[in-house]
Symmetry: C2
DNA sequence: TTGATAATGCAACAAAGTTGCGTTAAATTT
DNA sequence: AAATTTAACGCAACTTTGTTGCATTATCAA
């Protein structure tokens, strides 16, 4: 349990992620919350929410950090290995509910996998 | 043809990649070549070598940019979609010669895919 | 050897993310 | 309800990665 106090910042970010269907970049959040909280706070709250299992993070094509809400299944079973999709046209990033099977790689111990698929989303293709 | 002059910097970096079996991060290259060339030059030469099809790049787990030599097959057929492996213990990054099949994702047009698998390499597991 | 210009060095900059520390405000105790 | 504790915050300064503009250098071909 990383978040021990329900602060205004925690509530704001929790609400944003609960109301969003897509992933959100830290840069985006820092910008739109500029008047409400400090950028350091954004980084720290997101980190805590991830530790709590509410959010998960990944790196986008541009190298920026993105966060998305975990599904109930993920929160309980820590099954966080799903691919992400980033639209090259509108920039939207989403979690994909598909399973990608990783072949066994000889002499290597696999711990986690990050899949990032890019292309055109439903609105842009 | 992006590289039109065989400069000392181009030769240095070409040799490094020809002699390396693993991928190399730009940060690493900038550091070890500090006495030989400017960091701007490192960035620019790598960009040109990638445009020429000799190297390909990808983003590591840490968000840093990595480069690796393309295989002959990749140089000719532009078949650059292979996974990469990053060792969590020693930090080594390699290209993996395995095929990962991306399932069709409805309502989305897939353009490219980045796969990054992390774990322990042969030396560290 | 000379001339055109691709490539480099350098310094300044931009953007993402981190750190330290004093202050504020949640939550708990009295 | 007031006092206490300390998690969380704001702010400023900093670090790191990567980029840009421009003067200078060195490659290559005429
Ligand atoms: Mn996701
Ligand atoms: Mn590769
Ligand atoms: Zn789109
Ligand atoms: Zn290793």
């Amino acid at each position: 349990m990383s978040v021990v106090r329900k602060t205004k910042s925690v509530n704001t970010l929790t609400t944003i992620f609960n109301e969003s269907t897509s992933a959100l970049s830290v840069v985006n959040l820092v910008n739109r919350l500029k008047s409400q909280m400090n950028k350091t706070t954004v980084y720290r709250v997101l980190e805590r929410l991830e530790n709590d299992g509410m959010l998960h993070s990944f790196i986008g094509v541009d190298g920026l950090k993105w966060y998305a809400k975990c599904t109930e299944d993920e929160e309980t079973h820590q099954n966080h290995t799903h691919p992400h999709f980033q639209c090259n046209d509108c920039g939207k990033v989403e979690c994909l509910d598909v399973t990608i099977t990783i072949p066994a790689i000889k002499n290597k111990q696999i711990e986690s996998a990050n899949f990032l698929i890019t292309g055109q989303c439903e609105n842009c293709k």
